[in-house]
C-alpha cells in the first residue's frame, strides 16, 4: 500500500547544514554518534565548528556550558538517554542553572529503537520537564524536524529537543512550521479530545479517521511544546469534550504529556475523565517499533479502545479497519540504523 504521506529521508541531516550556514556561532558537539544523530553532514560541511567529545557525556555538558558562556550556541547531538540520564547533574548544574543557550538534540525517543532498554528514552520528557529554566520540544514529522531549530534558537536558555531521524513522514505542510507553545489543531470535535505528541500523532490520525467513519466527533491536537505547557488552545480543548480526554505519547504516562495535561486540568478545575496512553511504570525492551507500540498500547487501536471506554460503547472497529486508513508502511521496512 502506498503511503499517503511523503517520507523524508534524514531531514535533520540536510536541514542542519542549510540552517547553520549563516550562523557562525552555532557549533555541534558529538559523543561518538555523529552519523547516528545525522550530524555527519554538519561535520563535513563545517569541520571547524564540529567538536568530537568522545563517549564522555558529563564532560561534554561542561564544554558546552563553557562555549555557551563565551557566546557560542552549542548543539549537543547524541541519543536522548545519554543526554537526560547519564549526565543529569552536569546538565542541571553546568547548563540549566546558569540558563545557558545550549540546545540538546536527543535522538531515539521512546520505543523508536530496537536497541532495548539502554537506548530507549521513555523518561526523557519527564526528566527535562522538572529542570528549571529548561524548554522542552518534541517533533512529530519532517516539517517539525526542519523548523524546530528556529524555535530552539529563539529561546533564551537551554532547550531539549526530542528529535526524529531516518525516514520521517511529513504530516504537516512545509508552510506550517512548528510554533513555540502552540498546539496544532488537527481536527475539531465535541465528544472526546485527543492530545498526541511525537510519533504517536501519526497513530492518532489512523484512529481518528476510522472513528470519524462511525460518526464520532473528535478534537485532536498535536503537541510539540511540552514545557512551557500554557497554550490557551490546549486549555480550550480540555474544556470542550462531552466525554473526556485521551493523551497518547511515546513515553511513560508519568511526567510527560499525560501528566502535563492532568496538571492543567486539575489546576483549572476541569472535572472530566482523562485516559493516559503510554508506557505504564515499566521499561520496554528491544523489538520493532510496530511490535512495541502494540504491546504497550501506544497505537491506533489503543486509542480507539480509550475513546470507547470514555463513551461507554463499542464501535466495532477492527485492526483491518485501521489498516485500511493506515498512513504508511514505510516504517516497517526501515531497517535499524547504527546504535
Amino acid at each position: 500500500m502506498a503511503s499517503e504521506f511523503e517520507i523524508v529521508t534524514r531531514p535533520h541531516a540536510k536541514n542542519l547544514v542549510a540552517w547553520a550556514k549563516d550562523k557562525p556561532r552555532v557549533v555541534v558537539l558529538s559523543a561518538d554518534l555523529t552519523t547516528s544523530c545525522e550530524a555527519d553532514t554538519f561535520r563535513d560541511a563545517y569541520p571547524d565548528r564540529f567538536f568530537s567529545m568522545g563517549m564522555a557525556e558529563q564532560n561534554m555538558m561542561g564544554f558546552a556550558a563553557g562555549l555557551a558562556r563565551e557566546g557560542f550556541f552549542p548543539y549537543i547531538h547524541t541519543f536522548a538517554v545519554f543526554i537526560t540520564r547519564r549526565p543529569f547533574d552536569q546538565l542541571a548544574m553546568s547548563i540549566a542553572y546558569p540558563n545557558l543557550p545550549v540546545r540538546f538534540i536527543g535522538f531515539l525517543p521512546g520505543i523508536t529503537t530496537p536497541g532495548g532498554v539502554t537506548h530507549q528514552a521513555i523518561d526523557d520528557i519527564a526528566l527535562m520537564r522538572i529542570v528549571p529554566n529548561m524548554t522542552v520540544l518534541e517533533v512529530g514529522d519532517a516539517t517539525e524536524v526542519e523548523s524546530v531549530l528556529d524555535v530552539a534558537q529563539s529561546i533564551n536558555g537551554p532547550v531539549y529537543v526530542r528529535m526524529l531521524r531516518g525516514q520521517v513522514p511529513r504530516l504537516f505542510r512545509e508552510t506550517e512550521p512548528l510554533q513555540f507553545n502552540h498546539a496544532r489543531i488537527v481536527s475539531q470535535g465535541s465528544d472526546v479530545t485527543i492530545l498526541s505528541s511525537g510519533i504517536c500523532t501519526e497513530e492518532a490520525l489512523r484512529a481518528t479517521r476510522a472513528l470519524a467513519t462511525k460518526g464520532i466527533s473528535l478534537h485532536h491536537s498535536h503537541i510539540s511544546t511540552h514545557k512551557p505547557f500554557t497554550d490557551p488552545r490546549v486549555l480550550a480543548a480540555l474544556h470542550a469534550p462531552r466525554y473526556g480526554v485521551v493523551t497518547l505519547e511515546n513515553h511513560l504516562v508519568t511526567g510527560g504529556l499525560g501528566s502535563a495535561v492532568a496538571e492543567m486540568m486539575a489546576e483549572h478545575g476541569i472535572g472530566k475523565k482523562l485516559v493516559r496512553l503510554g508506557l505504564r511504570d515499566e521499561y520496554a525492551h528491544g523489538a520493532s517499533r510496530e511490535y512495541l507500540m502494540k504491546k504497550y498500547g501506544l497505537d491506533a487501536m489503543a486509542l480507539v479502545r480509550a475513546v470507547e471506554q470514555l463513551m461507554g460503547e463499542r464501535f466495532g472497529l477492527s485492526e483491518e479497519d485501521l489498516a485500511a486508513v493506515r498512513l504508511t508502511q514505510v516504517h516497517s521496512a526501515a531497517k535499524a540504523e547504527a546504535l
Binding site: M53, G54, N59, L67, A68, M93, N133
Partner: protein, 309 residues
Amino acid sequence: MQAASSAWQAHTQRVAQNIRRRVLDYVIRNNGGYLSQACSGAEILATLYTRIMNLGPSRAPMIPAPFPGVPSAHNPNFFNGALYNGAPEPHRDRFFFSPAHYALVLYATLIEVGRMSPEGLELFNQDGSTVEMIGAEHSPGIETTTGSLGQCLSQAGGVALARKLKGETGRVWVMLSDGEFQEGQTWEAFAALAFHKLDNVGVYVDVNGFQCDGKMDTVMQIEPLHARLESFGAAVYEAEGHDMEQLAALATLAHASKPLVVLARTDPAHGIEILRARAPKYHYVRFQDETERAQYRDWLEEMNVIDTS
C-alpha cells in the same frame, strides 16, 4: 619561605598568611568552618592572585550585594561573581574555582588582594547573602557553579576552546582539589583538553591528601597522579605547595599544545599546627568545647603577634 628574597615574595607571603589568619578568625567566631582548606590552599590562591593571573581590576562592589535571584530568562538582575576578578577581556586571564567548599578561603583571598572589603566576610553564610558557604556563580570571585565537584574543569575547557576559536590571548586558570580526581568527569576533561590541544589552560591542584572521609588513600587512591596525568596528555609539574617561588615559576613554563598541570603538594595543617590533632578529620572544623576553641584563639593571637612584630 620565611626569608622572602624580594618584594613580590614578601607581599605574596603576607597575603597567604593573612588568608590563613582571617579564615581562622572567622572559624573561631563562627564556631566552625573549612579551616584546613586555608592551611593547604593559602599560598596557591595568594600566588595565583598576586603573581600568576593577569586580571583586570574588580568590577564588583567591595561589599557584596544581596542575593539577586538565580539566573533565568526572567531575571535581568543576575550577577556573576567573576566580576570580582575583573571584566572579561580578550587579553586578560580568567579564573575558574573548582573546589567550591574552599569558598571561605577565596573570599579571604579577595579581601587580602583588595577586591572585597573585610566587611564582606561578615555576610558569609548569612541569609539573603551571596557570600555563601559553598559558593556558586553569584558568589564573589566565582564564575561557574561547581559545588557538585568535578564539573569546573569541563566548563573551563569549554571557555578555553571558545577563547581559542575567538583568537583571544588570555589564559584560563583553574584551581582544583585533589579529591576531584576521584570523579570520572575530571579524567574525561583532561582527555578532552589534551585531544583539543587546549594549551591556554593552566590547572593548579591543591594536593593535600585529605577529603571528607579522611586520608585520601584510605578512601580511594588517586596516585600516582603525576604519571596518570602525563599519560592523559598533560604537561605536569610538581611543586612544594607552600613555596610561592616554585608555584609562580611553573606557570611560566612552556607547554605547547598541552594543558599545564601544577601538582601543589600541600600540608592540610600548614601554619596552624594544632589542627594536626584532628587528623585525619580535616574537612570541616567544629570545636568540641570552649577549651578547644580557646586553644585556637591563642594560636591566632600568636599569629597576630608574629605578623605585627
